[in-house]
């Protein structure tokens, strides 16, 4: 099973707009997996949304979850 992850802003430049990663059971393990696949993510702070909700802490996910990675940016 695999998960579809959508990335925004600067993160899209690092991981691509839409990526497929191995299925993980929660967002903490997803973060770890992403850091292995894309080492430069380690230095970047970003928010995760699951089913269009910004998560507060570790959150359970399944293959139907819509996952998005949102970076802060400050341009104006």
């Amino acid at each position: 099973m695999q998960l579809k992850v959508q990335a925004f802003g600067l993160l899209a430049e690092i991981v691509g707009n839409n990526i497929i990663v191995d299925k993980q059971t929660d967002t903490d393990s997803l973060k770890k997996q992403l850091a292995v696949q894309f080492p430069s993510l380690v230095d970047i702070k970003y928010a995760i949304a699951v089913d269009k909700k910004i998560i507060a802490g570790n959150t359970l996910i399944n293959e139907a979850s819509i996952i998005a990675l949102l970076p802060p940016f400050s341009g104006g």
Partner: protein, 369 residues
């Protein structure tokens, strides 16, 4: 406050809207809105707010107008080169609508003046271009219980949200730290000068910010409270994400005004290596010392070109990709306004060398000549 015949004529097209009417117009004319940052986001927001008849507008910006601003900062003309943005923007707004009050504050927002400035307004609009200001403004608005309209752009993507609006039970909606709790280093994410931005994008996002502001004052429609809207200018796609206010967020925000004033926003994330801010006089003196290198960290093509002293150019975008080998004992760095060079100074400092940053950058230098 009753509308006079001039007001009724000027605002007739929006007063005519069933959901809006004279009552909403009166609310707009009584509202006080502070726009911080009169750049790519601030210009369109200001223009529509003034046109719509926001009765009292404040503009905070300490920057001056440069040629590379003009593709997106639409209140300025080619003749305004090097003039202060806040003052020129205020003049342009009063030409558009002389019936409102506009105050220009050509100062840099910091912890010493933020509370005084923000306290006097009902709604704050964040059109700044760096994380230090954004977190500072967010925390000040939480402390003073002011609604904050947030917008930000990166290349072809924009974010909009309305933070800190209290509901009928006096509970505030989510704020910036519920979305991104910790302030990133300014060097973690490139700004517009480094990453580039398409001119119409801040136009779209800034106009959406003005729209949220008008809706909030008029009490119409649904707002982007507890939500983040993302807009992509290339694909025309929009996404809305829900944000939930979190208990932990309050721990990150200074609990009172004294704590706020003592907070370090400019470089709260970096500590171990240090550098020194120097003025023009000291900068020139240090330049003469042996074993010294001067580095311009502006991007290629940024003006003015410096010919009056010897230096090398390593753009911030290049610097970030690969740390250059610099063996000199003294490193002097400068950029346009002295913001990016702070990041560069921290980055280049290794504990063995001495790094100096030209405070206020080239613009302050030029204005002192």
């Amino acid at each position: 406050m009753k509308l006079n015949s001039n007001d009724k004529e000027r605002y007739s097209r929006q007063i005519g809207l069933k959901q809006f009417g004279e009552l909403a117009q009166q609310k707009l004319l009584q509202a006080k809105v502070l726009v911080i940052g009169a750049g790519g986001l601030g210009c369109p927001a200001l223009q529509y707010l003034a046109a719509a008849g926001i009765g009292n507008i404040g503009i905070v910006d300490d920057d001056t107008i440069s040629l590379s601003n003009l593709h997106r900062q639409i209140l300025y003309t080619t003749n305004d080169f090097d003039l202060p943005k806040a003052t020129i923007a205020a003049g342009a707004l009063l030409m558009l609508n002389p019936t409102i009050t506009v105050n220009a504050f050509p100062v840099r927002l910091d912890t010493s003046n933020a509370l005084e400035l923000i306290r006097n307004y009902d709604i704050i609009i964040d059109g700044t271009d760096n994380f230090s200001s954004r977190y500072l403004i967010n925390d000040a608005c939480v402390l003073l219980k002011k609604p904050l309209i947030y917008g930000s752009v990166y290349q072809f993507e924009g974010q909009v949200a309305v933070f800190n609006v209290v509901n009928e039970n006096n509970i505030p909606s989510a704020n910036y730290r519920d979305l991104f709790p910790q302030q990133p280093n300014n060097e973690e994410v490139p700004n517009c000068s480094e990453a580039g931005v398409i001119g119409v994008l801040p136009g779209i996002i800034g106009t959406m910010m003005a729209n949220e502001c008008i809706k909030l004052i008029a009490g119409i429609g649904s707002l982007l409270t507890n939500k983040l809207l993302i807009y992509n200018a290339l694909s025309n796609q929009t996404y809305e994400m829900d944000i939930t206010p979190k208990e932990e967020t309050t721990l990150l925000i200074p609990p009172n005004e004294a704590a706020f004033k003592a907070m370090q926003y400019s470089f709260s994330c970096e500590a171990e290596h240090s550098f020194e801010d120097v003025g023009i006089k000291d900068f020139l003196k240090l330049m003469q010392e042996e074993d010294t290198i001067v580095i311009d960290v502006r991007e290629e093509g940024e003006k003015p070109v410096i010919t009056s002293f010897e230096h090398i150019n390593i753009p911030m975008s290049v610097l970030k990709r690969q740390k250059p080998e610099i063996n000199q004992k003294n490193i002097l760095v400068f950029c346009h306004a002295g913001i990016r060079s702070v990041d560069a100074a921290q980055y280049l400092s290794n504990g063995k060398n001495k790094v100096y940053n030209l405070k206020g950058g080239i613009i302050r230098w030029m204005s002192s000549l």
